[in-house]
């Protein structure tokens, strides 16, 4: 396993280099000229040329690329086009923190609701609870965030007045609840279903019967033997749904007015702020790779049988 992780860690920078090259080329050939973005429509060619020279846009491409990568390694993604003289890293940092907190809260909700619900529903197979839970998760899974969000706002903000419609106050502010639920709901649905299926699978195993035959209490059997084994596929799915949730988070931040990275990303795309777009793509790629790595490591911890 050690070698496996080592191999993964060695591969990571190579993967990132390839991604960064793709990102760089996309930025280069994307529509619009960054100088024109800055100068608007009325500009003289000489002035544009001077800016290109100053920004190093006239250097050979490979020099531009290595300069970019060199700086990116130091956490410097250059200056924003839209906010000239502002460092992309400075602009992004507070927004990444906000998004990360919101995301963490969503994952928390997903795990907290999804796993027990799926587990419980599997244990109650045959009663009315199980099909109800399955039906509920189907409904939840079918609901897009732009339906969930307004429903939550209408019910909990406008009608009940429990939460403000929008805004951000950090991890321990009540305004985080509605957006976190919105992002988390599709995850809850997926996780519940996977956990349920996985639990049923494990329940049918001989070691469970053996455990019961040994006279262990239901509680011990369920939690030590069933739940732990049932979690393995759930962890995989969790890794995947994190990627899916990121997309939803963009829209949710927009609807709930959260000063996270989602809105900023959209803004940057519309204003062709390539340094920001490139930085976000790279950061996104790194997060996904790291998340996958963590999932793989968790596998091994959960199930010693797994060997690479």
């Amino acid at each position: 396993m050690f070698y496996y992780i080592l191999r993964r860690i060695i591969w990571t920078p190579i993967l990132l280099l390839i991604i960064s090259l793709i990102v760089f080329i996309m930025g280069l050939y994307g529509p619009g000229d960054p100088v024109e973005v800055q100068l608007g429509q009325n500009y003289s060619e000489e002035r544009a040329e001077r800016i290109r020279e100053a920004k190093g846009l006239n250097d050979p491409l490979y020099i531009q690329y290595f300069r970019y990568i060199g700086n990116a390694l130091k956490g410097d993604f250059g200056e924003s086009y839209k906010y000239p003289s502002k460092k992309v890293s400075e602009l992004l940092k507070p927004k990444l923190v906000v998004s990360a907190k919101l995301f963490l809260a969503s994952i928390f909700i997903t795990i907290l609701l999804g796993i027990p619900l799926g587990f419980y529903s599997a244990l109650r197979q045959g009663s009315w609870i199980d099909p109800s839970v399955v039906a509920l998760t189907l409904v939840l899974y079918a609901m897009p965030v732009f339906l969930i969000a307004p429903v939550l706002i209408i019910v909990f903000s406008l009608e009940l007045g429990w939460f403000p419609v929008s805004g951000w106050g950090g991890f321990f502010d009540k305004r985080i609840i509605l957006p976190a639920i919105t992002i988390g709901i599709p995850g809850v649905a997926v996780l519940t279903r996977i956990m349920r299926a996985s639990t049923l699978d494990v329940l049918g195993n001989e070691f469970v019967r053996t455990a019961r035959a040994k006279g262990l209490t239901d509680l011990v059997v369920n939690y030590r033997h069933v739940a732990r084994n049932a979690l393995i596929p759930v962890v995989t799915i969790l890794g995947f749904s994190i990627a899916g949730m990121l997309g939803g988070a963009l829209i949710v931040e927009l609807i709930f007015g959260i000063p996270g990275v989602g809105r900023f990303a959209l803004d940057s795309i519309f204003s062709r702020d390539y340094p920001v777009i490139m930085a976000l793509t790279l950061i996104g790629a790194i997060s996904l790779i790291v998340a996958n790595l963590i999932v793989d490591i968790f596998y091994v911890i959960l199930d010693p049988r797994i060997r690479y």
Partner: protein, 569 residues
């Protein structure tokens, strides 16, 4: 400035389809037009207000009843807070509250003295001598002198400042173009003279009646030399201004707070401050939950707020349309548009009334001329080209492109992404096809590419964009868009007679004669059909909380926050 029409319409439809009745957004000119990237939000009532505002409120409330309060608005991140670089309404709406110039526009769009107390214009109309007000101060308490104005105007023009609009607003001043188009070594504009601390003299190249109007734009505002030089590229992080408010807090994508400038020359702002929320959110829901004080009303909420039984109905106000014209432009050098009869045929074949009511539900008003209604110089006597299918067919038959086999292919370029061009363009092309049998191809290109091609006059036909007034003078439309030598004449239109009228109008000192010259030119241009004018902006609706007093909606950006106050009693 060129505006993207589709973006504004998309703002309605996309958002409606996204979140049903919940999201609506600013439809009035000064509630910013949140295209996707700029829906906004209030962070929270008390928590996020700069601490200064809260303490100030108490001390100021004693005394004058009509003072105090914090107005909460939706806004988007400004592209810049540097007055010399401002090109968009989002930035301008903030900059006019923080900075000011010699003259300003009031809510009725009249030119009024700001930092200048008075001015006189020489008999030949070329020399403007401004007398500055006594004892005027920057927000940091230092005095403003005529030299500050000279420095500021020269800074705006200097190539290192990279102002995209300096050439538009300052070109008339003698010697300004040498600086703007120079390599940076020339800094002195010969037409700007400091007579004494309180007197500034501007010499322009010809008597131009619209010159004062241009000075109301932020490019001509005064900034403080030390502030700009010490702050470097980031000087607008803590700007020293001259407007009724000063910047108190700004975090990109979150919130921007301005508070009262106690060194303002005139009557001090009544509000303690204004909190502009930049983080986005569902405007209508936020308004209902008292998280913001003003919001525009989108199509989705229209019926609800118009219902007299709905509590929101009491807050409803109408918003004057912005001075915008949307059009389809023809490049008159490109066949088949080099033929007047062909252009006229296309004009007569479009039923704008039908599109306005069916496609846009009355959100737009069909345009038959160039100047928007109520804009200075707008005339009801202008005869536009209405819908007349028979005449269209007849004109096409008379044109040299009557036979489709010798008609070059027509490509209409529209801006945008997503693959589906604006609906109105599709309907127009369908009308051309059904009535005239003229088929066109619609090509959608990304906005930046569109602007570039437009600027380089590479487009044969273009739609989906419009022109919005920069200052209240007909020159801003008719001269800038149609004079043969204008850089914004994207369709290569030339008419010597019109050029002559426009040149005469530039220097004509008699207001009525001047307007009449523009009217004549406008009529000539319409008859030549270099455009198919499509829409003017229509009156919009907004909601404003009953405790917000003294707020005026205006069709152009003018400083207006200083007269506003909050009265919750």
């Amino acid at each position: 400035m060129i505006m993207n029409f589709k973006k504004i319409i998309i703002k309605y439809f996309l958002i409606i389809s996204l979140v049903g009745t919940l999201i609506s957004c600013g439809s009035d000119t000064d509630i910013v037009t949140p295209d996707l990237n700029s829906s906004e939000e209030t962070s929270n009532q008390e928590k996020n207000i700069a601490p200064g505002l809260m303490t100030e409120k108490k001390s100021d409330d004693s005394g004058d009843k009509n003072r105090g309060g914090v107005l909460k608005r939706l806004w988007a991140d400004p592209a810049t807070l540097d007055p010399h670089l401002v090109t968009d309404t989002t930035s301008a709406g903030l900059v006019v509250e923080l900075f000011s110039g010699l003259v300003s526009l009031n809510s009725d769009l009249e030119i009024v003295p700001e930092l200048a107390e008075s001015w006189n214009i020489s008999d030949d109309g070329k020399v403007y001598t401004f007398k500055l007000k006594e004892n005027i101060l920057f927000s940091d308490g230092t005095p403003i002198t005529a030299s500050d104005f000279k420095w500021s105007l020269e800074r705006a023009a200097h190539p290192d400042t990279e102002s995209p609009v300096a050439s538009i607003y300052l070109e008339d001043i003698v010697g300004s173009m040498e600086v703007i188009d120079g390599d940076g070594s020339i800094t002195d504009i010969s037409g700007i003279k400091v007579i004494d601390d309180n007197t500034l003299q501007l010499t322009i190249d010809a008597p131009k009646a619209y010159f004062l109007a241009k000075l109301t734009y932020p490019t001509a505002y005064v900034v403080k030399k030390e502030n700009v030089e010490q702050g470097g590229d980031n000087w607008t992080d803590s700007p020293v201004g001259t407007g009724p408010f000063i910047l108190s807090e700004y975090s990109i994508g979150e919130v921007l707070v301005i508070r009262r400038n106690d060194n303002y020359w005139g009557e001090k702002a009544k509000l303690d401050g204004v909190e502009f929320n930049l983080a986005g959110g569902v405007a209508m829901a936020m308004y209902e939950n008292d998280e913001i004080d003003i919001t525009g009303v989108g199509l989705a909420d229209l019926e609800r707020v118009k219902d007299v039984n709905d509590p929101l109905n009491n807050d409803l106000v109408s918003v004057p349309p912005s001075f915008t014209v949307t059009y389809i432009g023809f490049n008159v050098n490109e066949p088949p548009f080099d033929d007047l009869k062909f252009r006229l045929a296309l004009n007569y074949a479009v039923d704008k009334q039908l599109i306005a009511s069916q496609v846009y539900s009355g959100l737009v008003k069909p345009a038959y001329g160039i100047l928007p209604p109520n804009f200075p110089g707008f005339s009801l006597d202008i005869t536009g080209i209405g819908y007349d299918p028979d005449k269209a067919v007849q004109l096409l038959a008379e044109s040299k492109y009557a036979d489709s086999s010798n008609r070059p292919p027509i490509i209409v370029t529209v801006p945008g992404t997503g693959g589906s061009p604006s609906l109105d363009m599709e309907v127009v092309s369908d009308m051309w096809d059904r009535i005239l049998g003229v088929q066109v191809e619609i090509q959608q290109v990304e906005w930046a590419t569109y602007l570039q091609d437009l600027h380089r006059r590479r487009l044969q036909v273009w739609g989906g964009s419009g022109w919005q007034a920069d200052y209240p003078d007909p020159q801003d439309f008719i001269d800038i868009l149609f004079h043969s030598n204008s850089t914004n004449n994207h369709g290569n239109y030339t008419n010597q007679e019109a050029d002559k009228l426009l040149e005469d109008a530039r220097t004509e000192q008699d207001v009525y004669k001047r307007i009449s010259l523009y009217n004549q030119a406008e009529q000539l241009i319409i008859d030549d059909a270099p455009w198919l004018p499509m829409w003017f902006d229509q009156e919009g609706l907004a909601l404003i909380k009953p405790w917000v007093k003294g707020f005026n909606f205006t069709p152009m950006i003018v400083p207006k926050m200083k007269d506003v106050y909050i009265d919750k009693s």
